[in-house]
């Protein structure tokens, strides 16, 4: 976007200078980068505070809770439970503040344990479902494929290659087996080979996206900063 107002112009200049400061880090760590880093950290913390209030606590808890208090007489039992639960959560959260006193600091373990427990509990069945089962279902493929009654060599070989990969990599990950005999060593090596081919491919596949990012930054500097400024003052 070309700068259209003086605020845009000022912004584009600040953005451009900050970007250049970040790039200067590549050459050498320097004071300009340090200042940029300080600004970045500061602004992002401020932004984080606002975000956790504006998009989290305020609309999801504070507003409903206020609404609950104002109209508490015609609320259902579920709403009362919810409110009570929020009060309890508040209590658990307050325990965090015990960290400020050295002697009561152990109380802060409760909120930590609470968050951990919730995360783990919600996560476990989902892990089984979307990681183990989904992947297993995708791997359940026949090693003999028939299309229109005839054997499809290409598809069969592909499936065999895929299955061999899955099994050998899974085998490579076995921890409690002594892999000293030649057979298991070979299988493990095949597993490593699959892993390495996969990693190399992923790495190379990402190059294009990363170069695009850099191109976009250069484009910004050229179009919005240099040309935009010239246009703003009718020099172009």
């Amino acid at each position: 976007m070309m700068p259209e107002s003086f605020m845009d112009l000022a912004g584009v200049w600040i953005a451009a200078l900050l970007s250049l400061c970040v790039f200067s880090f590549l050459f050498k760590d320097n004071i300009l980068f340090k200042i940029t880093e300080a600004i970045f950290v500061g602004v992002s913390v401020g932004y984080g505070i606002v975000l956790s209030w504006n998009a989290g606590l305020h609309p999801k808890v504070v507003v409903p809770f206020m609404e609950f208090i104002r109209n508490y007489h015609d609320k259902s039992r579920a709403d009362f439970f919810w409110a009570a639960y929020m009060v309890v959560s508040l209590g658990i959260g307050v325990l965090y503040l015990s960290r400020f006193s050295p002697r009561q600091a152990w109380l802060s373990r409760f909120p930590m344990a609470y968050l951990m427990g919730i995360g783990i509990g919600i996560g476990m069945p989902l892990t089984i479902q979307s990681f183990i089962f989904e992947q297993m279902r995708a791997t359940l493929i026949p090693i003999v494929v028939k299309t229109n009654g005839a054997l499809d060599w290409a598809a069969s070989l592909g499936n065999i290659a895929l299955l061999a990969g899955v099994f050998s990599v899974l085998y490579y990950f076995f921890f409690s087996v002594k892999k000293s005999d030649p057979v298991s060593q070979t299988v493990s090596r095949v597993g490593i080979a699959y892993l390495m081919l996969g990693f190399g491919a992923s790495f190379a596949l990402t190059v294009m996206a990363r170069i695009s990012l850099l191109s976009a930054r250069v484009q910004f500097l050229k179009d919005e900063w240099v040309e935009g400024t010239l246009r703003y003052f009718n020099l172009l």
């Binding site: 259209e4 003086f6 970040v22 970045f40 500061g42 913390v45 505070i49 504006n54 699959y194 596949l205």
Partner: protein
Amino acid sequence: MLCIGCGIIMLLQFFVPLEFVQRDMLQWVNDSAIVVATFGLAIGLASLVHVHSTRIRRRARGWALSVVTLACATVVAVIGLLKSDWGPVVARSQRYDVLPNGVTAGVIEVTHTLFGYQTATVFTNTVTAAGVVPLQHRSVPMFDWFYNYIMYPLMSTVFALLAFYMMTAAYRAMRAKSWEAGLLLAAALIVLLGQVPVDQFVRLPAIDGVSLFEWLKLKILDYPNTAAKRSIIIGVALGGLATSIKILTGIEKPYLGGRG
């Protein structure tokens, strides 16, 4: 104890089909986690303020940078929390014109308030059946401005550093030191060649309608890459489950300082 209790309750709720449990309870727990995590953020902020203020008080090296950090955080947080749409008015007074091709409206003249010498002609607005929707005076909300001109450019520039780092990493580390590294290297080279239109410059045989390297690239992605990813995901899921179970059964208690 609390951890174990919560964990098991949340674990079981997955299987309970009541709409109340599946929808509301999850929502509740989510709300509750937001409340608790907010206090966590407060602790984080306290740590941040503590580290920086100590540095400032002791006039440690780079203490001025700490001032910058705290000041930026305060300004953004205060503006964002108190009045996130506050900002200077940048444009006022507009005049509708007629485009050369005879369509009414669609051109607007914007006079900028500060440095008012500048008059720009900007295309804007919607042609509607009802007529022209007038553009009111435009102000730039400072909070958005911080995002658009500080946060976003910095985020994307730091992200763009990866373009450089990929190159140095490739140069430094992609060497055929062992057969494993050789395979990684080979796969990377093939995919790199498959990504760009090499066949425009060199004559290459084509397979299945795509050029050699592209075909090889697709095969590597379809087979070794998929197989490796799948088994890693299955393994990771198992490892994650094992860690979860260890914590739920109290074999490992990271929040108590390890095995307690």
